[in-house]
Amino acid sequence: MSERMRACPREGEVLAAVAAGTQGTDLGRHLSDCPECREVFAVSAWLQGVARETDVGALPRAERVWWRAQVERRLATRHELAERAARPIRWFERGAAAAVALIASAILWEQGVPTASAALARLSDPTTLGALTAALMTLAGLAAREAVRKS
């Protein structure tokens, strides 16, 4: 916006006059000379008229809002307790997945895998294949569970 920002020290006085619904001769004269205050007057007088005329309809009863707040609070507390109770199980599951991955790596290491083609050849070994499948399935299961929990 290219317009220069200006402010008049009498803006507060203008707002007070609009709120009170009265405007002295002196302020009236100032309003006709000061474009900033005229703008403040126009906007605030219009908005206060809008506020007075705004029909908000029937408001919800305070008891109903209070009751809803209590229900939501109880639900949030219950959710938090369930989360806390499930935490050790989740840690155990993560530990188990790490152990499986470690064992699978150890088996591969122990059998010695010098190249990628040799690694593929080793997959035909039932022990290696079994360990890898178990590790992958455990990890996939945990990832799926975590995704469901988060959703």
């Binding site: 916006m1 317009e3 920002m5 402010a7 707002l15 609009v18 709120a19 405007q23 001769t25 009236g28 004269r29 309003l31 006709s32 005229r38 703008e39 403040v40 007057f41 126009a42 906007v43 605030s44 007088a45 219009w46 908005l47 206060q48 008229g49 809008v50 506020a51 005329e53 705004t54 029909d55 908000v56 309809g57 408001l59 919800p60 305070a62 008891e63 109903r64 809002v65 209070w66 809803r68 707040a69 209590q70 939501e72 609070r73 949030a76 507390t77 938090e80």
Partner: protein
């Protein structure tokens, strides 16, 4: 989670004194009667369940405006994602009001952004100082001056174009 504060009777008292003002603010900032009712309830539910220090009525009102504004922004963002905000704000059903005023008000306010509506409302209806507006809208104190100036200028221009400028008595 902290206990509900205040108690039910105190809440009823605060609610009855503040709800009409928060409702009018929501009504005009959202431009939609059906949303503003939902948002009003959500505002007070959040207020009751929030982890906050004890507050006097003025602080509570300012805090309620802040919650209400954040809820409006959240709703606005989700509507913007669906690119329906403008259409809904224009065509929604409104509760009965004087016909001339209703149309003018809706049209004039619809040309301001929700943040501009919130700014001018807090400054010129609630008479909030810049510091309080900054807290409610979560912007810097210094930014309020500039943002408010722009919003006011824009609204003044809209009022002038629509022939809605109030008379100045000399």
């Amino acid at each position: 989670m902290p206990p509900l504060a205040p108690n039910e009777a105190e809440f009823r008292d605060i609610y009855e004194r503040t709800a009409p003002r928060i409702a009018a603010y929501l009504r005009r900032v959202t431009g939609a009667a059906d949303w503003s009712e939902d948002l009003l309830q959500d505002t007070y539910v959040r207020y009751l369940n929030a982890d906050r220090p004890p507050m006097d009525e003025r602080q509570s009102l300012s805090y309620l405006y802040r919650i209400a504004t954040n809820l409006v922004y959240d709703r606005w963002r989700s509507m913007r994602r669906e690119t329906e905000w403008e259409q809904v704000a224009r065509v929604e059903e409104t509760p009965p009001e004087p016909v001339g005023l209703r149309r003018d008000v809706e049209q004039a306010l619809a040309r301001l952004s929700p943040r501009e509506r919130a700014l001018v409302w807090l400054a010129y209806v609630e008479g909030y100082p810049h510091k309080d507006i900054a807290r409610v809208l979560e912007v810097k104190d210094r930014s309020v001056r500039v943002l408010l100036f722009r919003a006011r200028r824009k609204l003044a221009k809209i009022l002038e174009e629509s022939g809605l400028t109030p008379e100045v008595q000399e």
